[in-house]
C-alpha cells in the first residue's frame, strides 16, 4: 500500500502538469470486488501509457480535442467505420466505446480516451478512417479533467478524512459527468453507490434508487441491505468491504430529481392491425352473457385422465374439455359458428368448428385454432393444442394455424383473472372467456355446503331474437 501511495503521489504531481490527458494511473488499481475472481492490475500498463501520452499545453474550459485513431497494430493504416456507438452531443467517459471499425477480418472497438462531449464525428458509416487522423472531436470540461477519478472535487462537503479513506480503498468510481453532477447536487458520495453499469459504472438509475431508498427509510438502513453486490461472491476473494458501514443519515425530505420524459411512438405493424380488428369487432351488434359453472366433476375427471395422457406424451389441461364442449354446443346452435358479411346482410354458417385459443406470446395476442373439433376427441384436441402452444412460444405459427377460425375461447384464468369481457374477433360472431377455477363454498342438492370448483364464463354473442344459452 505504501508503494502504491508513493506511485500515486508522483502520479498526482504528473497530473498537475498534464491538462489534456486524463491520467488514470496509479489510483486506477481497481478495488477487488468479489464479483470477478480475476485481478485487474492495470497500474503498470497505465503508468507507461501515461508517459507516452504526456502533453504540457494548457487547457481552457471546454476545449475541443481531436481524438485521433490510434495505432491498430499489424501495420494497418486504414479501417472501415462500421458502427457508431455515440452521436454528436452525447457525453462520454473515458473507456466508453465510441465506434466499431473493421480491418480485414478484425473488428476493433475504439474507446474514448477522454471524458467530455462529442462535438464532431469525422467519418460516416462505411467510410474509410485513417490511423493517426482525427476520428472524433471531444469537448473536454477542464474543471473535471484535472482530477477525474477522485470525488473530492465534485463533492465539497466531504471531509479530508473521507477523501483519504477513499484513496486507501483505492476505489475508482466510474461515472459520466452528468451522473457525477447529480450525485454532487444531492450530496451523495459516489463511493456509497454500487454501480450497476458496465465495469461497475455508476448510472443515473443507481443514484435515483439510492435516493429513493433514503427518503423511504424510517430507520437508518443496514449497510448490507443498502449495498448489494450485483454478482455472486466467490469464495476465493474477500467479500465487499465491511467498512462501508457508515451510519447513513436519514434526511426528512429530499428533492427527488426525476428526469423521465414522455415518449411518443407510432403504433405500427401487428399492434396497428389489432387496433383495426378490435374497432371492427366493437361494431358487431352483440351482448354479453355470464354464468358460473360448477366444475367439480370435471376437475376430478381430468385428474384421472392426466396420467394416461402423459404416457402418450400429451399434456392435458382443462382447455381441451372446454373446446370440445364448445363444439358440442355449436352443433346445437350453429348460428354461433357463423360469419356475417360486411353489411350484415348475409350470414354464412361455417361447417367446420375451427376453435381458436387465444395465446399471449412475445409477438402479441395470437389466436391459432384447432381445426375440425367436431370430429376430434378430447385427446386429439389436447395433442393439437400442445403443438400449437409450442409453435406459439417459438414464434413459429404459420398461416394455416392462424386463419380459418370460426369461434374463439379465451382463457384469462391462466393469468389468474376471474372475470373478463372479451372482444369478438371478426369474421367470427361469438367468443367465450374462461376465468380461473376457484374453490368456493356452494350448496348441494341436500342443502349441505361443499367445496365446489367454480369458474366464471363470459360470452359475447351476436344479437339475435332468440338468444341461445350456451
Amino acid at each position: 500500500m505504501a508503494a502504491l501511495g508513493a506511485v500515486r503521489s508522483s502520479g498526482r504531481a504528473a497530473r498537475r502538469l498534464v491538462c489534456i490527458q486524463r491520467v488514470r494511473s496509479c489510483s486506477s488499481v481497481r478495488f477487488i470486488k468479489s464479483k470477478y475472481v480475476c485481478v485487474f492490475d492495470k497500474s503498470a500498463l497505465k503508468f507507461s501509457h501515461q508517459q507516452r501520452l504526456f502533453r504540457t499545453s494548457a487547457v481552457s474550459r471546454g476545449q475541443i480535442v481531436q481524438f485521433k485513431l490510434s495505432d491498430i497494430g499489424e501495420g494497418i493504416t486504414e479501417v472501415t467505420v462500421k458502427e457508431w456507438y455515440i452521436k454528436e452531443g452525447d457525453s462520454v467517459s473515458q473507456f466508453d466505446s465510441i465506434c466499431e471499425v473493421q480491418s480485414d477480418k478484425a473488428s476493433v472497438t475504439i474507446t474514448s480516451r477522454y471524458d467530455g462531449i462529442i462535438r464532431k464525428l469525422h467519418y460516416s458509416l462505411d467510410e474509410i478512417a485513417y490511423v493517426g487522423k482525427p476520428l472524433v472531436d471531444i469537448e473536454i470540461d477542464a474543471s473535471k479533467g484535472v482530477a477525474p477519478a477522485e470525488d473530492v472535487v465534485e463533492a465539497p462537503p466531504m471531509s479530508h478524512e473521507e477523501h483519504t479513506h477513499q484513496e486507501i480503498k483505492g476505489h475508482k468510481t466510474l461515472a459520466t459527468p452528468a451522473v457525477r453532477r447529480l450525485a454532487m447536487e444531492n450530496n451523495i458520495k459516489l463511493s456509497e453507490i454500487v454501480g450497476t453499469g458496465k465495469d461497475n459504472r455508476i448510472l443515473k438509475e443507481d443514484i435515483l434508487n439510492y435516493l429513493a431508498k433514503q427518503t423511504g427509510a424510517i430507520l437508518p438502513p443496514s449497510p448490507k441491505a443498502e449495498i448489494i453486490p450485483p454478482f455472486p461472491k466467490s469464495e476465493t476473494v474477500p467479500a465487499p468491504p465491511k467498512d462501508k458501514a457508515h451510519k447513513i443519515p436519514v434526511p426528512v425530505s429530499r428533492p427527488i430529481v426525476f428526469s423521465g420524459k414522455d415518449k411518443t411512438e407510432p403504433i405500427t405493424g401487428f399492434h396497428k392491425a389489432m387496433v383495426k380488428t378490435m374497432s371492427a369487432a366493437l361494431k358487431i351488434p352483440h351482448f354479453g352473457y355470464c354464468d358460473e359453472i360448477d366444475l367439480t366433476e370435471l376437475v376430478q375427471l381430468r385428474e384421472e385422465l392426466k396420467p394416461l395422457a402423459q404416457i402418450r406424451g400429451v399434456k392435458l389441461s382443462f382447455m381441451p374439455f372446454f373446446i370440445k364442449a364448445a363444439s358440442l354446443g355449436l352443433l346445437q346452435y350453429p348460428i354461433l359458428n357463423a360469419s356475417l358479411d360486411e353489411n350484415c346482410q348475409n350470414v354464412t354458417y361455417k361447417a367446420s368448428h375451427n376453435i381458436g385459443v387465444a395465446m399471449d406470446t412475445e409477438q402479441g395476442l395470437i389466436v391459432p385454432n384447432v381445426k375440425n373439433v367436431q370430429v376430434c376427441s378430447v385427446f386429439e384436441i389436447a395433442s393439437e393444442l400442445n403443438r400449437l402452444q409450442s409453435l406459439g412460444s417459438a414464434g413459429q405459427l404459420g398461416t394455416t394455424e392462424l386463419t380459418g377460425g370460426t369461434f374463439t375461447l379465451s382463457n384469462i384464468g391462466t393469468i389468474g383473472g376471474t372475470y373478463t369481457k372479451p372482444v369478438i374477433l371478426p369474421p367470427e360472431v361469438a367468443i367465450g372467456a374462461l376465468g380461473k377455477i376457484q374453490v368456493l363454498p356452494r350448496f348441494n342438492g341436500k342443502g349441505e355446503v361443499f367445496k365446489a370448483r367454480i369458474m366464471n364464463i363470459h360470452q359475447k354473442l351476436p344479437l339475435q331474437e332468440h338468444s341461445p344459452k350456451l
Binding site: 473493421q102 405500427t268 401487428f270 389489432m274
Partner: protein
C-alpha cells in the same frame, strides 16, 4: 463429445484465474488452456466475451477450445440474408449466431474445431497463432501439406481451405479465433452457405467462398480429439506450461459471473438480425393465378432488421388499392421476418372483406413476400 477424462480435470476456474502466487501450480505461468463442455454456440461465444471483458491477460494468455452443434456463425458486420439460406436453417433447426469479431460466415458442427487465442492487445499476433496450429498438425502427421496464407487461411494441399480466421480487438485485450475442419458435413455446409435471396444491396462485409476439405478425408485417423490434443500440446510447449486442459461449463455463474446474460444477449433478435447494416431489397416475383401470370415488383429498405421503406408494385386492380396500401403500411416498421409477417397478415385478414377470391389473392401475395425474408 466425450473427452478423455484421464487428461483433463474440471475444477473451479477461480483457482486458475488468480494471478499465480508462489506455491500454487508454479508451473502454470504464461498460458492457460480451457475447453468448453457445451456445444451451444451462444454459450461458447459468451465465454469468449467473458474472457475478453474480464480476464487479466498480462501474465497469462489463454487458449480456448470449443465445438458447436450445427450452427451458422456470421461476422459482426455481415448480412445473414446475403450469407446463408435462412429458410433452410429454420427448416433444419440450425442455429444462427452473430459473433463479435469481424470476417466472414462459417458453418460449425461437431466435426469442426474452434480455437480462440486470447492475449493483450499488444501481444495479438494472428500469424504466430496460425503457425502454431500448422506446427502442431505437422508434428502429428509430417507428410501433411498445410500452410498459412497471407489472408490468414490455412490451406491443405495448396488448394483446400481447412481453417478461416477472425479477430476482435478491444481496448486492452484482443482475441483471434479460427476454425479447423476435421470431419464437418460438407454437403450441409455448402447448402446452408448459399443464399437464395435475390436483389440484395448492402455494404455488409461479404464472405469469400472457398473450396473446403476435411482433415479426416486426408487421413482418417485424424479425429477432433486427436487434433485438439495436438494443438494443446504445442500451445503448452510454446508457453512453457503443463499440457493440461481445464474444462469449463459455460452455464456456471459461480465461475463466470454474468455469463448467462451474455449468452442471452447473443440470442436476441436485436443482436442476430437487428445488427445487420442497412440494406435494400429490389426484386420481383411472379404470381400464377387463374390462367394468368403477373409480375410483382418489390423494393424495400431494411434498417436494424426492420422494414423502413416498403414499395409493392402490383398490376392494376389485382388487389383493391386500399388493401394493398394497408399491407404496405403495416409492413413498414415490422421486422423483416417471415413469422412476424405471418402474424401481421393473418390479423389484417380479419378485417378484409369475406370474399374467397380476394382472400386467395391476398394469401398468394403475402406468401411470396414472406419468401423474400
Amino acid at each position: 463429445m466425450v473427452l478423455q477424462s484421464s487428461l483433463k480435470n474440471c475444477f473451479q476456474l477461480s483457482c486458475i484465474l488468480q494471478v499465480p502466487k508462489a506455491g500454487f501450480r508454479s508451473t502454470a505461468s504464461g498460458g492457460l488452456i480451457i475447453q468448453s463442455t457445451s456445444n451451444d454456440v451462444y454459450q461458447n461465444l459468451a465465454v469468449e466475451d467473458w474472457i475478453h471483458d474480464h480476464m487479466n491477460l498480462e501474465k497469462r494468455q489463454v487458449l480456448f477450445l470449443w465445438r458447436n452443434s450445427p450452427a451458422v456463425v456470421i461476422g459482426r458486420h455481415q448480412n445473414p440474408w446475403q450469407e446463408c439460406n435462412l429458410r433452410l436453417l429454420r427448416q433444419k433447426n440450425i442455429k444462427l449466431a452473430r459473433r463479435r469479431s469481424g470476417g466472414g460466415t462459417v458453418y460449425h458442427d461437431l466435426g469442426n474445431i474452434n480455437l480462440t487465442f486470447f492475449t493483450t492487445r499488444k501481444k495479438h499476433e494472428r500469424m504466430e497463432n496460425l503457425k502454431l496450429v500448422v506446427k502442431a498438425l505437422k508434428a502429428l502427421r509430417p507428410q501433411l501439406d498445410v500452410h498459412v496464407t497471407d489472408r490468414y487461411d490455412i490451406l491443405l494441399d495448396r488448394q483446400y481451405k481447412i481453417s478461416g480466421t477472425a479477430a476482435k480487438l478491444g481496448r486492452t485485450a484482443a482475441y483471434h479465433h479460427c476454425t479447423l475442419l476435421c470431419s464437418t458435413d460438407k454437403f450441409v455446409l455448402s447448402s446452408v452457405l448459399k443464399s437464395p435471396y435475390k436483389g440484395l444491396k448492402s455494404n455488409a462485409t461479404p464472405s469469400v467462398p472457398a473450396s473446403v476439405k476435411n482433415l479426416f478425408e486426408e487421413d482418417p485417423s485424424l479425429t477432433c480429439e486427436v487434433l485438439l490434443d495436438a494443438i494443446a500440446e504445442e500451445y503448452a510447449t510454446q508457453h512453457q506450461i503443463d499440457h493440461h486442459i481445464n474444462l469449463i461449463n459455460p452455464a456456471d455463474e459461480t465461475v463466470l459471473p454474468g455469463i448467462n446474460n451474455k449468452a442471452k444477449e447473443l440470442q436476441t433478435w436485436e443482436w442476430v438480425y437487428g445488427k445487420t447494416p442497412k440494406f435494400n431489397v429490389s426484386t420481383h416475383f411472379n404470381i400464377a393465378y387463374k390462367d394468368s401470370v403477373l409480375d410483382v415488383k418489390v423494393d424495400m429498405d431494411v434498417k436494424h432488421g426492420r422494414i423502413e421503406v416498403c414499395n409493392i408494385d402490383l398490376p392494376q386492380q389485382w388487389l383493391p388499392p386500399a388493401l394493398c396500401s394497408e399491407l404496405v403500411k403495416s409492413l413498414t416498421g415490422n421486422k423483416f421476418c417471415p413469422n412476424e409477417t405471418t402474424v401481421l397478415v393473418t390479423t389484417l385478414l380479419r378485417t378484409c372483406p369475406q370474399d374467397g377470391d380476394l382472400q386467395s389473392r391476398w394469401n398468394l401475395l403475402c406468401e411470396n413476400m414472406k419468401m423474400l425474408m
